[in-house]
Protein backbone atom coordinates (compact mmCIF):
# COMPACT_ATOMS: atom_id res chain seq x y z
CA UNK A 1 0.00 0.00 0.00
CA UNK A 2 1.49 3.28 -1.05
CA UNK A 3 0.68 6.57 0.54
CA UNK A 4 0.15 7.97 -2.94
CA UNK A 5 -3.05 5.95 -3.46
CA UNK A 6 -6.28 7.82 -2.73
CA UNK A 7 -8.13 4.53 -2.33
CA UNK A 8 -6.35 1.57 -0.76
CA UNK A 9 -7.91 -1.75 0.23
CA UNK A 10 -5.87 -4.31 2.10
CA UNK A 11 -7.06 -7.88 2.80
CA UNK A 12 -10.70 -6.81 2.86
CA UNK A 13 -13.39 -9.39 3.51
CA UNK A 14 -17.12 -8.83 3.62
CA UNK A 15 -20.01 -11.28 3.74
CA UNK A 16 -23.77 -11.09 3.82
CA UNK A 17 -25.51 -13.60 6.04
CA UNK A 18 -22.59 -16.01 5.99
CA UNK A 19 -22.04 -15.79 2.23
CA UNK A 20 -18.71 -14.24 1.32
CA UNK A 21 -19.33 -11.38 -1.09
CA UNK A 22 -15.98 -9.68 -1.17
CA UNK A 23 -12.47 -10.94 -0.56
CA UNK A 24 -10.11 -8.34 -1.96
CA UNK A 25 -6.45 -8.75 -1.03
CA UNK A 26 -5.35 -5.50 -2.65
CA UNK A 27 -6.84 -2.58 -4.52
CA UNK A 28 -5.14 0.75 -5.02
CA UNK A 29 -6.36 3.66 -7.03
CA UNK A 30 -4.17 6.62 -7.86
CA UNK A 31 -5.37 10.15 -7.04
CA UNK A 32 -6.95 12.07 -9.85
CA UNK A 33 -7.55 9.00 -11.98
CA UNK A 34 -10.87 7.82 -13.35
CA UNK A 35 -11.73 4.17 -12.89
CA UNK A 36 -14.47 2.09 -14.45
CA UNK A 37 -15.47 -0.73 -12.13
CA UNK A 38 -17.07 -3.57 -14.03
CA UNK A 39 -18.74 -6.74 -12.90
CA UNK A 40 -21.82 -8.89 -13.32
CA UNK A 41 -24.82 -7.94 -11.26
CA UNK A 42 -24.64 -9.47 -7.79
CA UNK A 43 -20.88 -9.61 -7.96
CA UNK A 44 -20.50 -7.18 -5.08
CA UNK A 45 -20.05 -3.87 -6.90
CA UNK A 46 -22.55 -2.05 -4.71
CA UNK A 47 -21.03 -3.64 -1.63
CA UNK A 48 -17.62 -2.37 -2.66
CA UNK A 49 -19.04 1.13 -3.15
CA UNK A 50 -20.66 0.84 0.27
CA UNK A 51 -17.27 0.05 1.79
CA UNK A 52 -15.63 2.95 -0.05
CA UNK A 53 -18.39 5.30 1.08
CA UNK A 54 -18.02 4.20 4.69
CA UNK A 55 -21.62 3.03 4.87
CA UNK A 56 -20.51 -0.58 5.30
CA UNK A 57 -17.51 -1.74 7.29
CA UNK A 58 -15.37 -4.75 6.40
CA UNK A 59 -15.27 -7.77 8.64
CA UNK A 60 -11.56 -7.89 8.13
CA UNK A 61 -8.93 -5.77 6.51
CA UNK A 62 -8.37 -2.10 5.97
CA UNK A 63 -10.14 0.44 3.82
CA UNK A 64 -8.43 3.79 3.40
CA UNK A 65 -9.99 6.53 1.37
CA UNK A 66 -8.27 9.91 1.07
CA UNK A 67 -5.99 8.85 3.88
CA UNK A 68 -8.89 8.10 6.22
CA UNK A 69 -8.92 4.62 7.82
CA UNK A 70 -12.63 3.93 7.40
CA UNK A 71 -12.44 0.48 9.00
CA UNK A 72 -11.31 2.06 12.26
CA UNK A 73 -13.82 4.87 12.49
CA UNK A 74 -17.04 5.14 14.41
CA UNK A 75 -20.25 5.57 12.36
CA UNK A 76 -20.51 9.29 13.07
CA UNK A 77 -16.90 9.84 12.01
CA UNK A 78 -17.60 7.94 8.79
CA UNK A 79 -20.62 10.19 8.21
CA UNK A 80 -18.38 13.21 8.59
CA UNK A 81 -15.81 11.67 6.25
CA UNK A 82 -18.54 11.19 3.64
CA UNK A 83 -19.67 14.78 4.00
CA UNK A 84 -16.09 16.08 3.75
CA UNK A 85 -14.46 13.86 1.14
CA UNK A 86 -17.06 12.12 -0.97
CA UNK A 87 -19.45 12.81 -3.80
CA UNK A 88 -22.05 10.14 -4.60
CA UNK A 89 -24.21 9.69 -7.69
CA UNK A 90 -26.88 6.99 -7.85
CA UNK A 91 -28.47 5.34 -10.81
CA UNK A 92 -31.58 7.49 -10.42
CA UNK A 93 -33.48 9.57 -7.87
CA UNK A 94 -30.47 11.54 -6.75
CA UNK A 95 -32.34 14.65 -5.76
CA UNK A 96 -34.85 15.78 -3.20
CA UNK A 97 -37.73 16.45 -5.60
CA UNK A 98 -39.28 19.17 -3.47
CA UNK A 99 -36.15 21.32 -3.31
CA UNK A 100 -34.94 23.66 -6.04
CA UNK A 101 -31.97 22.73 -8.22
CA UNK A 102 -29.92 25.31 -6.35
CA UNK A 103 -30.79 23.84 -2.94
CA UNK A 104 -30.13 20.31 -4.16
CA UNK A 105 -26.64 21.26 -5.27
CA UNK A 106 -26.04 23.17 -2.03
CA UNK A 107 -27.00 20.00 -0.17
CA UNK A 108 -23.50 18.73 -1.05
CA UNK A 109 -22.06 21.34 1.31
CA UNK A 110 -24.69 21.20 4.00
CA UNK A 111 -23.05 18.73 6.34
CA UNK A 112 -19.44 19.81 5.90
CA UNK A 113 -17.97 23.17 6.90
CA UNK A 114 -14.65 21.88 5.54
CA UNK A 115 -16.15 21.36 2.12
CA UNK A 116 -17.92 24.71 2.19
CA UNK A 117 -14.55 26.28 2.96
CA UNK A 118 -13.01 24.61 -0.10
CA UNK A 119 -15.48 26.38 -2.38
CA UNK A 120 -13.54 29.57 -1.69
CA UNK A 121 -16.12 31.90 -3.22
CA UNK A 122 -19.82 32.69 -2.79
CA UNK A 123 -21.69 29.39 -2.95
CA UNK A 124 -24.18 30.67 -5.54
CA UNK A 125 -21.34 31.64 -7.89
CA UNK A 126 -19.92 28.15 -7.65
CA UNK A 127 -23.34 26.58 -8.24
CA UNK A 128 -23.79 28.71 -11.36
CA UNK A 129 -20.34 27.77 -12.58
CA UNK A 130 -21.04 24.04 -12.14
CA UNK A 131 -24.40 24.36 -13.83
CA UNK A 132 -22.74 26.01 -16.80
CA UNK A 133 -19.86 23.56 -16.85
CA UNK A 134 -22.34 20.66 -16.92
CA UNK A 135 -24.20 22.39 -19.75
CA UNK A 136 -27.40 23.01 -17.86
CA UNK A 137 -29.36 26.18 -18.66
CA UNK A 138 -29.08 28.74 -15.82
CA UNK A 139 -32.85 29.21 -15.68
CA UNK A 140 -33.12 25.74 -14.13
CA UNK A 141 -31.55 27.10 -10.95
CA UNK A 142 -34.80 27.81 -9.14
CA UNK A 143 -36.87 25.04 -10.68
CA UNK A 144 -38.02 22.23 -8.42
CA UNK A 145 -35.76 19.24 -9.01
CA UNK A 146 -38.74 16.90 -9.44
CA UNK A 147 -39.75 18.71 -12.62
CA UNK A 148 -36.44 18.06 -14.45
CA UNK A 149 -35.83 15.38 -17.06
CA UNK A 150 -33.82 12.34 -15.99
CA UNK A 151 -30.77 13.53 -17.92
CA UNK A 152 -30.92 16.95 -16.31
CA UNK A 153 -31.39 15.36 -12.89
CA UNK A 154 -28.24 13.29 -13.32
CA UNK A 155 -26.24 16.40 -14.20
CA UNK A 156 -27.61 18.23 -11.18
CA UNK A 157 -26.61 15.17 -9.14
CA UNK A 158 -23.11 15.43 -10.58
CA UNK A 159 -22.97 19.09 -9.61
CA UNK A 160 -24.07 18.20 -6.08
CA UNK A 161 -21.47 15.43 -5.87
CA UNK A 162 -18.68 17.62 -7.17
CA UNK A 163 -19.31 20.87 -5.31
CA UNK A 164 -16.62 21.61 -2.76
CA UNK A 165 -14.07 19.42 -4.60
CA UNK A 166 -14.37 16.06 -2.82
CA UNK A 167 -11.41 13.68 -2.91
CA UNK A 168 -13.44 10.86 -4.43
CA UNK A 169 -16.55 10.64 -6.56
CA UNK A 170 -18.49 7.36 -6.40
CA UNK A 171 -21.07 6.74 -9.11
CA UNK A 172 -23.27 3.66 -9.22
CA UNK A 173 -24.54 3.07 -12.77
CA UNK A 174 -25.03 6.81 -13.26
CA UNK A 175 -25.89 6.50 -16.94
CA UNK A 176 -28.13 3.43 -16.97
CA UNK A 177 -31.23 5.60 -17.36
CA UNK A 178 -29.71 7.57 -20.22
CA UNK A 179 -29.40 6.70 -23.90
CA UNK A 180 -25.97 6.04 -25.41
CA UNK A 181 -25.32 9.59 -26.62
CA UNK A 182 -26.47 11.21 -23.41
CA UNK A 183 -24.45 8.71 -21.37
CA UNK A 184 -21.24 9.54 -23.21
CA UNK A 185 -21.87 13.28 -22.97
CA UNK A 186 -22.62 12.98 -19.29
CA UNK A 187 -19.48 10.99 -18.51
CA UNK A 188 -17.31 13.35 -20.53
CA UNK A 189 -18.61 16.39 -18.70
CA UNK A 190 -18.27 14.61 -15.37
CA UNK A 191 -14.73 13.51 -16.13
CA UNK A 192 -13.76 17.04 -17.12
CA UNK A 193 -15.04 18.42 -13.85
CA UNK A 194 -13.34 15.66 -11.87
CA UNK A 195 -10.07 16.49 -13.57
CA UNK A 196 -10.56 20.20 -12.87
CA UNK A 197 -11.25 19.54 -9.20
CA UNK A 198 -8.57 16.87 -8.79
CA UNK A 199 -11.27 14.41 -7.82
CA UNK A 200 -10.76 10.68 -8.29
CA UNK A 201 -13.77 9.09 -10.01
CA UNK A 202 -14.90 5.51 -9.42
CA UNK A 203 -17.77 4.63 -11.71
CA UNK A 204 -19.64 1.34 -11.65
CA UNK A 205 -21.12 0.32 -14.98
CA UNK A 206 -21.68 -2.79 -17.05
CA UNK A 207 -21.67 -0.81 -20.29
CA UNK A 208 -18.46 -1.85 -22.10
CA UNK A 209 -18.77 0.89 -24.66
CA UNK A 210 -17.88 3.43 -22.01
CA UNK A 211 -14.41 1.95 -21.39
CA UNK A 212 -12.52 4.45 -23.59
CA UNK A 213 -13.67 7.31 -21.37
CA UNK A 214 -11.70 6.02 -18.36
CA UNK A 215 -8.03 5.92 -17.36
CA UNK A 216 -8.39 2.46 -15.95
CA UNK A 217 -10.84 -0.42 -16.02
CA UNK A 218 -11.12 -2.76 -13.05
CA UNK A 219 -12.94 -6.07 -13.46
CA UNK A 220 -14.28 -6.94 -10.05
CA UNK A 221 -13.81 -10.67 -10.58
CA UNK A 222 -10.11 -10.05 -11.19
CA UNK A 223 -9.53 -8.55 -7.75
CA UNK A 224 -12.27 -10.28 -5.79
CA UNK A 225 -11.35 -13.79 -4.66
CA UNK A 226 -14.77 -14.42 -3.18
CA UNK A 227 -16.23 -14.27 -6.65
CA UNK A 228 -13.46 -16.39 -8.11
CA UNK A 229 -14.45 -19.46 -6.09
CA UNK A 230 -17.80 -19.61 -7.81
CA UNK A 231 -16.65 -18.52 -11.25
Amino acid sequence: MTSAAVIALDQVRFSYGGRAVLDIPQLQIAPGSSVLLRGASGSGKSTLLGLLAGVLTPEQGEVRVAGTPLHALRPSARDRFRADQLGVIFQQFNLLPFLSVRDNIALGLRFSPLRSGRVGRPVDDEIKRLLQALQLPPELLLRRAGTLSVGQQQRVAAARALIGRPAVLLADEPTSALDRGAATAFLQLMAAQCAAAGTTAVVVSHDDSLQPLFDRVVQLQDINHAGAVHA
Binding site: P75, A83, F90, Q92, N94, L99
Partner: protein
Protein backbone atom coordinates in the same frame (compact mmCIF):
# COMPACT_ATOMS: atom_id res chain seq x y z
CA UNK B 1 -33.25 21.60 8.83
CA UNK B 2 -36.43 23.62 9.34
CA UNK B 3 -36.63 24.74 5.72
CA UNK B 4 -35.92 21.18 4.59
CA UNK B 5 -38.75 19.85 6.74
CA UNK B 6 -41.01 22.64 5.54
CA UNK B 7 -40.24 22.00 1.88
CA UNK B 8 -40.84 18.29 2.38
CA UNK B 9 -44.20 18.96 4.05
CA UNK B 10 -45.19 21.39 1.32
CA UNK B 11 -44.47 18.81 -1.33
CA UNK B 12 -47.13 16.62 0.29
CA UNK B 13 -49.49 19.51 0.90
CA UNK B 14 -52.75 17.61 0.51
CA UNK B 15 -52.08 14.70 2.83
CA UNK B 16 -50.39 17.04 5.31
CA UNK B 17 -53.39 19.38 5.15
CA UNK B 18 -55.75 16.50 5.88
CA UNK B 19 -53.66 15.37 8.80
CA UNK B 20 -53.50 18.93 10.10
CA UNK B 21 -57.29 19.05 9.80
CA UNK B 22 -57.73 15.83 11.78
CA UNK B 23 -55.39 16.99 14.52
CA UNK B 24 -56.93 20.47 14.55
CA UNK B 25 -60.37 18.98 15.08
CA UNK B 26 -59.19 16.65 17.80
CA UNK B 27 -57.24 19.33 19.66
CA UNK B 28 -60.16 21.75 19.29
CA UNK B 29 -62.43 19.11 20.77
CA UNK B 30 -60.05 18.50 23.65
CA UNK B 31 -59.63 22.18 24.43
CA UNK B 32 -63.31 22.89 23.85
CA UNK B 33 -64.42 20.15 26.22
CA UNK B 34 -61.85 21.34 28.71
CA UNK B 35 -63.03 24.93 28.40
CA UNK B 36 -66.70 24.05 28.73
CA UNK B 37 -65.87 21.84 31.68
CA UNK B 38 -63.94 24.57 33.49
CA UNK B 39 -66.61 27.15 32.71
CA UNK B 40 -69.40 24.84 33.79
CA UNK B 41 -67.52 24.13 36.98
CA UNK B 42 -67.00 27.82 37.62
CA UNK B 43 -70.63 28.53 36.84
CA UNK B 44 -71.77 25.70 39.06
CA UNK B 45 -69.48 26.64 41.91
CA UNK B 46 -70.89 30.14 41.81
CA UNK B 47 -74.57 29.19 41.62
CA UNK B 48 -74.75 30.91 44.96
CA UNK B 49 -72.17 33.54 45.68
CA UNK B 50 -72.15 36.22 48.32
CA UNK B 51 -74.09 33.98 50.69
CA UNK B 52 -71.96 32.93 53.64
CA UNK B 53 -74.20 30.28 55.17
CA UNK B 54 -77.34 28.37 54.29
CA UNK B 55 -79.29 27.10 57.28
CA UNK B 56 -81.93 24.38 57.36
CA UNK B 57 -83.17 21.54 59.48
CA UNK B 58 -80.43 19.07 60.32
CA UNK B 59 -79.84 16.56 57.53
CA UNK B 60 -76.93 16.18 55.17
CA UNK B 61 -75.12 19.21 53.71
CA UNK B 62 -75.64 18.10 50.10
CA UNK B 63 -79.28 17.40 50.79
CA UNK B 64 -79.76 20.86 52.29
CA UNK B 65 -78.00 22.45 49.31
CA UNK B 66 -80.07 20.41 46.87
CA UNK B 67 -83.46 21.41 48.23
CA UNK B 68 -82.66 24.98 49.20
CA UNK B 69 -80.71 26.05 46.12
CA UNK B 70 -81.42 23.50 43.37
CA UNK B 71 -85.00 22.75 44.44
CA UNK B 72 -84.33 19.05 44.15
CA UNK B 73 -85.86 16.76 46.73
CA UNK B 74 -87.70 17.79 49.85
CA UNK B 75 -86.58 18.93 53.26
CA UNK B 76 -86.86 16.48 56.10
CA UNK B 77 -88.00 19.17 58.46
CA UNK B 78 -88.67 22.87 58.76
CA UNK B 79 -86.99 25.64 60.71
CA UNK B 80 -89.16 27.39 63.24
CA UNK B 81 -89.82 31.07 62.70
CA UNK B 82 -88.57 31.73 66.20
CA UNK B 83 -85.17 30.17 65.50
CA UNK B 84 -84.95 32.15 62.31
CA UNK B 85 -85.74 35.35 64.19
CA UNK B 86 -83.14 34.68 66.83
CA UNK B 87 -80.37 33.61 64.49
CA UNK B 88 -80.94 36.38 61.97
CA UNK B 89 -80.45 38.97 64.67
CA UNK B 90 -77.08 37.66 65.82
CA UNK B 91 -74.58 40.53 65.89
CA UNK B 92 -72.36 38.93 63.19
CA UNK B 93 -75.27 38.64 60.77
CA UNK B 94 -75.57 41.34 58.15
CA UNK B 95 -78.63 40.06 56.35
CA UNK B 96 -80.94 37.03 56.36
CA UNK B 97 -83.27 35.85 53.62
CA UNK B 98 -85.87 33.19 54.49
CA UNK B 99 -86.92 30.51 51.98
CA UNK B 100 -90.24 28.72 52.15
CA UNK B 101 -90.75 25.88 49.72
CA UNK B 102 -93.49 23.36 49.12
CA UNK B 103 -95.74 24.75 46.41
CA UNK B 104 -95.36 24.79 42.68
CA UNK B 105 -96.73 26.23 39.48
CA UNK B 106 -96.82 23.98 36.42
CA UNK B 107 -93.96 22.01 37.89
CA UNK B 108 -91.84 25.06 38.77
CA UNK B 109 -91.00 25.46 42.42
CA UNK B 110 -92.54 28.35 44.27
CA UNK B 111 -90.25 30.06 46.76
CA UNK B 112 -91.71 32.17 49.50
CA UNK B 113 -89.15 34.77 50.50
CA UNK B 114 -88.67 38.47 51.18
CA UNK B 115 -87.66 41.39 49.00
CA UNK B 116 -84.18 40.86 50.46
CA UNK B 117 -83.85 37.91 48.06
CA UNK B 118 -83.57 40.24 45.08
CA UNK B 119 -81.13 42.37 46.95
CA UNK B 120 -78.80 39.73 48.38
CA UNK B 121 -78.92 36.71 46.09
CA UNK B 122 -75.72 36.68 44.02
CA UNK B 123 -74.50 34.29 41.36
CA UNK B 124 -71.41 33.99 39.20
CA UNK B 125 -68.80 36.60 39.99
CA UNK B 126 -71.14 38.40 42.37
CA UNK B 127 -73.86 39.27 39.83
CA UNK B 128 -77.09 40.44 41.46
CA UNK B 129 -80.47 39.42 40.10
CA UNK B 130 -81.82 41.79 37.48
CA UNK B 131 -85.31 42.25 36.10
CA UNK B 132 -85.96 41.69 32.43
CA UNK B 133 -89.40 43.13 32.97
CA UNK B 134 -91.44 44.47 35.92
CA UNK B 135 -90.44 44.87 39.56
CA UNK B 136 -90.14 42.82 42.78
CA UNK B 137 -93.37 41.72 44.41
CA UNK B 138 -95.29 44.44 46.16
CA UNK B 139 -98.85 43.27 46.67
CA UNK B 140 -99.57 40.12 48.69
CA UNK B 141 -100.55 38.18 45.57
CA UNK B 142 -97.67 39.30 43.37
CA UNK B 143 -95.21 36.81 41.89
CA UNK B 144 -91.82 37.17 40.20
CA UNK B 145 -90.79 34.46 37.74
CA UNK B 146 -87.46 33.26 36.42
CA UNK B 147 -86.42 33.54 32.79
CA UNK B 148 -87.03 29.86 31.94
CA UNK B 149 -90.51 29.95 33.41
CA UNK B 150 -91.40 33.00 31.33
CA UNK B 151 -89.99 31.58 28.16
CA UNK B 152 -91.23 27.99 28.46
CA UNK B 153 -94.73 28.91 29.61
CA UNK B 154 -95.10 31.99 27.45
CA UNK B 155 -96.23 34.16 30.33
CA UNK B 156 -95.39 37.75 31.08
CA UNK B 157 -96.01 40.57 33.51
CA UNK B 158 -99.70 40.99 34.27
CA UNK B 159 -100.61 37.35 33.61
CA UNK B 160 -102.46 35.46 36.30
CA UNK B 161 -101.21 32.22 37.82
CA UNK B 162 -102.85 29.63 40.09
CA UNK B 163 -100.34 27.90 42.34
CA UNK B 164 -100.56 24.20 43.07
CA UNK B 165 -100.19 22.66 46.47
CA UNK B 166 -97.18 20.39 46.69
CA UNK B 167 -94.40 19.89 44.24
CA UNK B 168 -95.58 16.93 42.20
CA UNK B 169 -95.73 17.63 38.48
CA UNK B 170 -99.39 16.75 38.34
CA UNK B 171 -101.46 17.84 41.29
CA UNK B 172 -105.14 18.20 41.89
CA UNK B 173 -104.91 20.42 44.95
CA UNK B 174 -104.75 23.95 43.70
CA UNK B 175 -104.89 27.29 45.41
CA UNK B 176 -107.54 28.39 42.94
CA UNK B 177 -109.18 30.77 45.31
CA UNK B 178 -106.10 32.95 45.61
CA UNK B 179 -104.71 33.68 42.16
CA UNK B 180 -101.38 35.46 41.76
CA UNK B 181 -100.39 38.07 39.26
CA UNK B 182 -96.94 38.19 37.65
CA UNK B 183 -95.23 41.34 38.73
CA UNK B 184 -91.76 40.81 37.38
CA UNK B 185 -89.64 38.57 35.16
CA UNK B 186 -85.98 38.04 36.03
CA UNK B 187 -83.14 38.01 33.58
CA UNK B 188 -81.44 34.74 32.87
CA UNK B 189 -78.85 33.70 35.43
CA UNK B 190 -77.94 30.14 34.48
CA UNK B 191 -78.91 29.09 38.00
CA UNK B 192 -81.99 27.32 39.39
CA UNK B 193 -83.48 30.79 39.93
CA UNK B 194 -84.40 30.72 36.23
CA UNK B 195 -86.98 28.04 36.88
CA UNK B 196 -88.39 29.47 40.08
CA UNK B 197 -91.51 31.38 40.99
CA UNK B 198 -90.88 33.85 43.78
CA UNK B 199 -93.61 35.12 46.06
CA UNK B 200 -93.58 36.84 49.44
CA UNK B 201 -93.48 34.86 52.64
CA UNK B 202 -96.89 36.20 53.82
CA UNK B 203 -98.36 35.04 50.49
CA UNK B 204 -97.34 31.48 51.30
CA UNK B 205 -99.11 31.87 54.63
CA UNK B 206 -102.17 33.40 53.00
CA UNK B 207 -102.76 30.55 50.58
CA UNK B 208 -102.40 28.00 53.39
CA UNK B 209 -104.37 29.84 56.04
CA UNK B 210 -107.42 27.62 55.56
CA UNK B 211 -105.45 24.43 54.91
CA UNK B 212 -104.59 21.73 57.39
CA UNK B 213 -102.47 18.69 56.67
CA UNK B 214 -102.39 19.30 52.96
CA UNK B 215 -106.12 19.71 52.34
CA UNK B 216 -108.35 22.75 52.34
CA UNK B 217 -110.77 22.84 55.24
CA UNK B 218 -114.31 22.69 53.92
CA UNK B 219 -116.67 25.28 55.31
CA UNK B 220 -113.82 27.36 56.72
CA UNK B 221 -112.71 28.92 53.46
CA UNK B 222 -110.96 32.25 53.79
CA UNK B 223 -111.21 34.41 50.72
CA UNK B 224 -108.24 36.15 49.18
CA UNK B 225 -109.46 39.50 50.48
CA UNK B 226 -110.16 38.19 53.96
CA UNK B 227 -106.70 36.70 54.14
CA UNK B 228 -105.18 40.14 53.71
CA UNK B 229 -106.45 41.13 57.15
CA UNK B 230 -105.07 38.15 59.02
CA UNK B 231 -101.73 37.89 60.77
CA UNK B 232 -99.62 36.24 58.10
CA UNK B 233 -96.45 35.70 60.12
CA UNK B 234 -95.28 32.17 59.34
CA UNK B 235 -94.71 29.62 62.06
CA UNK B 236 -91.91 27.95 60.16
CA UNK B 237 -89.80 28.26 57.03
CA UNK B 238 -87.80 25.74 55.00
CA UNK B 239 -84.37 27.29 55.15
CA UNK B 240 -82.63 30.63 55.17
CA UNK B 241 -79.56 32.28 53.71
CA UNK B 242 -77.22 34.36 55.83
CA UNK B 243 -74.78 37.10 54.91
CA UNK B 244 -72.27 37.99 57.58
CA UNK B 245 -70.51 41.21 58.40
CA UNK B 246 -67.17 39.50 58.18
CA UNK B 247 -66.21 36.27 56.50
CA UNK B 248 -63.89 35.53 59.39
CA UNK B 249 -66.97 34.98 61.53
CA UNK B 250 -68.31 32.28 59.19
CA UNK B 251 -67.03 29.30 61.13
CA UNK B 252 -68.00 30.61 64.56
CA UNK B 253 -71.53 31.41 63.36
CA UNK B 254 -71.71 28.00 61.69
CA UNK B 255 -70.71 26.34 64.93
CA UNK B 256 -73.21 28.42 66.90
CA UNK B 257 -76.01 27.35 64.55
CA UNK B 258 -74.99 23.70 64.53
CA UNK B 259 -74.92 23.75 68.32
CA UNK B 260 -78.17 25.71 68.58
CA UNK B 261 -79.86 24.25 71.66
CA UNK B 262 -83.53 24.78 70.80
CA UNK B 263 -83.65 23.11 67.40
CA UNK B 264 -81.60 20.63 65.39
CA UNK B 265 -80.18 22.87 62.66
CA UNK B 266 -77.47 22.62 60.06
CA UNK B 267 -75.49 25.49 58.56
CA UNK B 268 -73.42 24.93 55.44
CA UNK B 269 -70.96 27.00 53.46
CA UNK B 270 -72.55 26.89 49.99
CA UNK B 271 -69.23 27.08 48.13
CA UNK B 272 -67.79 24.12 50.00
CA UNK B 273 -70.89 21.99 49.55
CA UNK B 274 -71.19 22.93 45.87
CA UNK B 275 -67.64 21.67 45.49
CA UNK B 276 -68.58 18.37 47.17
CA UNK B 277 -71.58 18.02 44.92
CA UNK B 278 -69.49 18.72 41.81
CA UNK B 279 -67.02 16.09 42.81
CA UNK B 280 -69.77 13.55 43.16
CA UNK B 281 -70.75 14.41 39.59
CA UNK B 282 -67.11 14.04 38.56
CA UNK B 283 -67.51 10.69 36.80
CA UNK B 284 -69.28 12.19 33.82
CA UNK B 285 -66.71 14.91 33.69
CA UNK B 286 -63.84 12.46 33.68
CA UNK B 287 -65.55 10.35 31.02
CA UNK B 288 -65.78 13.42 28.83
CA UNK B 289 -62.14 14.21 29.37
CA UNK B 290 -61.18 10.64 28.62
CA UNK B 291 -63.10 10.67 25.35
CA UNK B 292 -61.50 13.87 24.15
CA UNK B 293 -58.07 12.57 25.14
CA UNK B 294 -58.81 9.47 23.05
CA UNK B 295 -59.74 11.65 20.10
CA UNK B 296 -56.42 13.48 20.37
CA UNK B 297 -54.67 10.13 20.48
CA UNK B 298 -56.50 9.16 17.29
CA UNK B 299 -55.31 12.37 15.68
CA UNK B 300 -51.75 11.52 16.59
CA UNK B 301 -52.15 8.00 15.25
CA UNK B 302 -53.17 9.53 11.93
CA UNK B 303 -50.00 11.60 12.11
CA UNK B 304 -47.90 8.46 12.56
CA UNK B 305 -49.83 6.84 9.72
CA UNK B 306 -49.02 9.78 7.45
CA UNK B 307 -45.34 9.68 8.26
CA UNK B 308 -45.03 5.92 8.01
CA UNK B 309 -46.96 5.74 4.74
CA UNK B 310 -44.57 8.20 3.13
CA UNK B 311 -41.53 6.48 4.55
CA UNK B 312 -41.30 3.95 1.74
CA UNK B 313 -41.39 6.55 -1.01
CA UNK B 314 -39.02 8.74 0.95
CA UNK B 315 -36.42 6.04 1.26
CA UNK B 316 -34.63 7.57 -1.70
CA UNK B 317 -34.62 11.00 -0.12
CA UNK B 318 -33.05 9.48 2.94
CA UNK B 319 -30.42 7.71 0.86
CA UNK B 320 -29.58 11.02 -0.81
CA UNK B 321 -29.24 12.70 2.58
CA UNK B 322 -27.10 9.83 3.83
CA UNK B 323 -24.91 10.09 0.74
CA UNK B 324 -24.29 13.76 1.34
CA UNK B 325 -23.11 12.92 4.85
CA UNK B 326 -26.26 13.38 6.92
CA UNK B 327 -26.16 11.27 10.03
CA UNK B 328 -29.03 8.88 10.71
CA UNK B 329 -29.78 11.05 13.71
CA UNK B 330 -30.26 14.04 11.42
CA UNK B 331 -32.75 12.12 9.31
CA UNK B 332 -34.59 10.93 12.41
CA UNK B 333 -34.70 14.50 13.75
CA UNK B 334 -36.05 15.65 10.42
CA UNK B 335 -39.00 13.29 10.76
CA UNK B 336 -39.64 14.29 14.36
CA UNK B 337 -39.50 17.92 13.28
CA UNK B 338 -42.01 17.26 10.53
CA UNK B 339 -44.33 15.61 13.04
CA UNK B 340 -44.03 18.47 15.50
CA UNK B 341 -44.46 21.07 12.74
CA UNK B 342 -47.59 19.32 11.51
CA UNK B 343 -49.25 19.16 14.90
CA UNK B 344 -47.87 22.60 15.73
CA UNK B 345 -49.82 24.06 12.83
CA UNK B 346 -52.84 22.10 14.00
CA UNK B 347 -52.50 23.41 17.56
CA UNK B 348 -52.25 27.02 16.41
CA UNK B 349 -55.35 26.51 14.27
CA UNK B 350 -57.17 24.82 17.13
CA UNK B 351 -56.42 27.73 19.46
CA UNK B 352 -57.60 30.17 16.79
CA UNK B 353 -60.84 28.23 16.38
CA UNK B 354 -61.30 28.14 20.14
CA UNK B 355 -60.74 31.86 20.62
CA UNK B 356 -63.00 32.86 17.74
CA UNK B 357 -65.70 30.42 18.84
CA UNK B 358 -65.53 31.80 22.37
CA UNK B 359 -65.78 35.35 21.05
CA UNK B 360 -68.64 34.51 18.72
CA UNK B 361 -70.53 32.30 21.16
CA UNK B 362 -70.31 34.65 24.10
CA UNK B 363 -73.68 36.37 23.73
CA UNK B 364 -75.41 33.19 22.68
CA UNK B 365 -74.17 31.22 25.69
CA UNK B 366 -75.21 33.95 28.06
CA UNK B 367 -78.67 34.31 26.56
CA UNK B 368 -79.41 30.61 26.26
CA UNK B 369 -77.58 29.02 29.13
CA UNK B 370 -76.78 31.94 31.40
CA UNK B 371 -73.21 30.76 30.97
CA UNK B 372 -70.88 33.72 31.04
CA UNK B 373 -67.75 32.90 29.07
CA UNK B 374 -65.17 34.67 31.16
CA UNK B 375 -62.07 33.55 29.37
CA UNK B 376 -61.55 33.91 25.67
CA UNK B 377 -57.78 33.88 25.35
CA UNK B 378 -55.91 30.65 25.98
CA UNK B 379 -54.84 30.32 29.58
CA UNK B 380 -51.83 28.54 31.01
CA UNK B 381 -53.75 25.36 31.52
CA UNK B 382 -54.77 25.20 27.87
CA UNK B 383 -51.26 26.03 26.73
CA UNK B 384 -50.06 23.17 28.90
CA UNK B 385 -52.48 20.87 27.08
CA UNK B 386 -51.13 22.11 23.75
CA UNK B 387 -47.59 21.57 24.99
CA UNK B 388 -48.58 18.03 25.91
CA UNK B 389 -49.98 17.42 22.45
CA UNK B 390 -46.76 18.71 20.87
CA UNK B 391 -44.70 16.50 23.14
CA UNK B 392 -46.83 13.50 22.22
CA UNK B 393 -46.51 14.26 18.53
CA UNK B 394 -42.73 14.41 18.92
CA UNK B 395 -42.99 10.94 20.45
CA UNK B 396 -45.32 9.92 17.62
CA UNK B 397 -42.76 11.21 15.12
CA UNK B 398 -40.16 9.08 16.82
CA UNK B 399 -41.83 5.90 15.56
CA UNK B 400 -41.23 6.59 11.85
CA UNK B 401 -37.97 8.29 12.78
CA UNK B 402 -36.63 5.11 14.35
CA UNK B 403 -37.83 3.08 11.38
CA UNK B 404 -36.08 5.49 9.05
CA UNK B 405 -32.98 5.43 11.20
CA UNK B 406 -32.75 1.67 11.02
CA UNK B 407 -33.50 1.63 7.33
CA UNK B 408 -30.93 4.24 6.36
CA UNK B 409 -28.34 2.22 8.20
CA UNK B 410 -29.41 -1.07 6.64
CA UNK B 411 -30.03 0.31 3.16
CA UNK B 412 -26.63 1.88 2.98
CA UNK B 413 -26.37 3.88 -0.17
CA UNK B 414 -28.58 1.80 -2.38
CA UNK B 415 -31.13 4.16 -3.75
CA UNK B 416 -33.48 3.46 -6.57
CA UNK B 417 -33.70 -0.20 -5.89
Amino acid sequence: MLELAWASLRSRALSVALTVLVITLSVTLLLGVERVRVQAHEGFASTVSGTDLIVGARSGPVNLLLYSVFHIGDPTNNVSWQSYQELSTLPQVKWAVPLSLGDSWRGYRVIGTTAGYFQHYRYGAGHPLAFAEGTPFDDLYDAVIGADVARAQGVRVGDEMILAHGTAAVTLARHADKPFRIRGVLQRTGTPVDSSVLVSLPAIEAIHVDWRSGVQLRGHAVSAEQARHLDLTPTSITAFMLGLNSRIATFSVQRAINDYPDEALLAILPGVTLQQLWQSLGTAERALQLISAMVVLLGLVSLVALLVSTLQERRREMAVLRATGARPRYIASLLVLEAVATSGMACVLALAVLVSASLAGRGWALANFGLSITHVWPDLRELAWVGGVLLLSALAGLVPALLAYRRTVADGLSAGG
